[in-house]
């Protein structure tokens, strides 16, 4: 009887602890970025992946500084011409994740490279406005961006066929006609 009760106690404790672990706000997890700037840091964060990726690729937080992400997340009601508003709790959760992994967080090689070319006070709203992005794409003619198969420079996956996996190296690029 005693053992049975003790067993139930142990099970209840383990159950409560695991419930607690799953209900804690997800902080995101950096697991290294492969060392180059063709591979985005591998990150997981439920709200970032669910919310940001419902309309576009979940752009890596490492591509803009914290000050940019604050501007982006502070203006979701007019997000590049569309209403992308969120409830305050989800918005705050995503911003925390973006700040923790931003270009100037020192947590990724790619972020360091983005910052090397950034003015210290700059807080661009678009990744495509960063000098790092412009330099990386300087061989792509303007007409290519305008193709209907590409749509816009926001559509990474049009050419970077493995963008969803965070892979951006040149071998995986196929520019559509």
């Amino acid at each position: 009887m005693n053992y049975v009760l003790r067993g139930i106690g142990v099970l209840a404790t383990v159950g409560t602890l695991s419930l607690l672990a799953f209900s804690l706000p997800s902080g995101g997890e950096a697991r290294g970025d492969g060392g180059g700037d063709d591979l985005m840091p591998r990150l997981t964060h439920k709200n970032w992946q669910q919310e940001c990726a419902s309309c576009h690729l979940a752009y890596s937080p490492a591509l803009l500084p914290k000050s940019s992400w604050r501007r982006v997340m502070g203006g979701l009601e007019q997000h590049f011409g569309e209403n992308a508003s969120l409830d305050p709790a989800t918005q705050a959760d995503i911003l925390r994740f973006l700040e923790a992994n931003a270009a100037d967080s020192g947590r990724s090689r790619i972020g360091d490279k983005v910052m090397q070319r950034m003015d210290t006070k700059a807080a661009p709203l678009r990744i495509t406005e960063t000098r790092w992005f412009v330099k990386k794409h300087d061989e792509v003619p303007r007409a290519t961006w305008a193709r209907t198969s590409v749509g816009s420079a926001a559509n990474c996956a049009a050419c970077h066929r493995q963008a969803e996996k965070g892979v951006f190296d040149e071998d995986t690029v196929r520019i559509p006609k």
Partner: protein, 133 residues
């Protein structure tokens, strides 16, 4: 103590089992609009879906601009990402999550109509989508 733990477990399970459905949303929106469910109009819902409004750069826009002329087909966001079909017949995940439904009505009514949609309009809209076979 044990009973209380078992009770909490049951409550968690039943919360999961009670997923929302298009019919639940129709009932809820009808109630909020102060009308009977039978007073919801699929025809008005379709008119809302196809209605054109002034958009960016002088172009006209409607729900169909992104969701295509047929809500049973997949659409595309402005930056080329796939939008799963809106009609429950083609996508059983639709209208099963209250937070999601309210979020997208809020965003998309503001974008397309430049105002929020009324409870009556939301009810009509789902009534139309839900009877598509």
């Amino acid at each position: 103590m044990i009973k209380r733990i078992a009770g909490a477990g049951l409550m968690l399970l039943s919360a999961h089992a009670l997923a929302d459905s298009p019919a639940n949303f129709m009932a809820r929106y009808a109630q909020a609009a102060g009308v009977a469910v039978t007073a919801l109009s699929p025809a008005r819902g379709e008119a809302l879906y196809r209605g054109e409004h002034p958009g960016k750069n002088g172009a006209k826009q409607s729900c169909a601009s992104c969701h295509t002329a047929s809500p049973k087909q997949a659409g595309q966001t402005r930056v080329g990402k796939r939008i799963e079909p809106l009609a429950p017949a083609a996508n059983p995940q639709r209208f099963t999550d209250a937070a999601k439904v309210e979020k997208w009505f809020r965003r998309n009514c503001t974008d397309v109509l430049a105002r929020e949609c009324s409870a009556q309009e939301k009810g009509d809209f789902i009534a139309w989508l839900n009877q598509l076979k």
